[in-house]
């Protein structure tokens, strides 16, 4: 792995392991659901929590923790610019969030091909198509931006979970009123989440650009 990417990976190993642990729990839930048809659809209902975990465990502490420990002073006085450091850190985190989302999506669709019910009902709709990927990136960027602005994990972590949950509920409300077909709505929503993720990345960069 090349220089800055290794630095970013070394700093995020623990987060990756925590998310991997969560995926194992999802796997266990899907297995139990297969054995207990009474629980049909439960695992899909829980799938949306992955975005919350991503902003809580991975996004919010990513920069806030550096400020809290003072290690940003170490990271930002090497030969890399702050922009390159942030790019490497976000690249690793985004790759992790997308991989986790892909693993969960594949796991659920393979393990529970018949579950989920109505495609337009949220447990199915929110675990299929591009939407979960857009949501994961949005949740990550939201956590990162809040961490960079507030500089405190104890503020950024709960706030980012709250806002991620709120965005999910807002998405459901808008969806119910729109009446668009499945794929149009999927791609529209995904595009909105990606645009928000990009803007929040910009916020994070501006927040760290000149600060000690």
């Amino acid at each position: 792995m090349s220089g800055p990417l290794w630095v970013a990976w070394r700093g995020q190993r623990a987060q990756a392991a925590a998310i991997a642990g969560l995926l194992l729990l999802y796997g266990a839930a899907a297995t139990i659901e297969r054995l207990e048809p009474d629980l049909s659809g439960r695992t899909f209902q829980l799938a949306g929590l992955l975005a919350g975990a991503i902003c809580l465990i991975w996004g919010a502490p990513l920069i806030a923790r550096e400020f809290e420990a003072g290690t940003h002073q170490l990271a930002w006085t090497q030969s890399l610019s702050r922009g390159r450091w942030l790019a490497a850190v976000l690249a690793v985190a985004a790759a992790g969030a997308l991989t986790a989302t892909a693993v969960l999506t594949l796991m659920l669709t393979w393990a529970l091909p018949d579950a989920g019910g109505d495609p337009m009902a949220w447990p199915y709709y929110e675990s299929h198509g591009p939407l979960p990927f857009g949501r994961s990136l949005f949740a990550l960027a939201l956590g990162v931006a809040l961490g960079a602005v507030t500089r405190h994990t104890r503020v950024a972590m709960p706030l980012s979970v709250l806002l991620t949950g709120t965005s999910q509920l807002a998405g459901r409300a808008l969806r119910d009123g729109s009446g668009l077909p499945f794929w149009t709505m999927q791609w529209t929503e995904t595009a909105v989440y990606l645009a928000l993720a990009l803007s929040l990345t910009g916020v994070a960069y501006l927040a760290i650009r000149h600060r000690v």
């Binding site: 220089g3 630095v7 070394r10 623990a14 290690t71 090497q78 000149h210």
Partner: protein, 231 residues
Amino acid sequence: MSALRTSELGKRYRQRWALRDAGIVVPAGARVALVGPNGAGKSTLLNLVSGLLKPTTGRVEVFGRPLEPAVVAFVAQDKPLYRRWSVADLLRFGAAANPAWDRAAAWALLSGHDIGQHERVDRLSGGQRTLVAIALAVGKRAGLVVLDEPLAELDPLARLQVMSVVRDLEATVLLSSHILADLAEVCDHLILLGAGRVRLCGSFADLLSGHPAAELEDLVLHYLRNPEAVR
């Protein structure tokens, strides 16, 4: 060529100037003691020189060129390190983040002080952590090494070890303390800050010649007690 030159350097936080109109010249190879009371602007100056802070006014030149991160190594106050990493991880971090990395020099410093590569940073003593932070600066091969209060909270033996390492650094060194006595033996230049202003800047010999004070300590006290004194 001077290792460090600042002109009209200033930093303002909202209404308050932490540092104002600082003109500093440090010749290459100097060991500079940056002293002054708490709140005099020492950390602000060092953060500006290390590139962590952007100046409100003025400029910083290192070896005749505008400041670039690769030419200055910085050991920040409290020696922040990734505490759950091993020493080897931290040095790999140094290698990954610095193109001119000198692995041998960094390891030589650590093995010379019996710091093993598998030890976790949070299991090291304060003195050992300081040496690891300095090893990162050594590996970076920067011409200017800046240390903010490197001796704070160290026991006397660790202070001696750290100062002997600082003495042997192959670079121009700028280090701060609020206690001049800590630095007088190793350093040959002095910058005195008071209330955000540079009160003295020069070699020990130049500063003492032509002044009635016989000792550096007396000179510093004279300038701190007389805010109007001008050299």
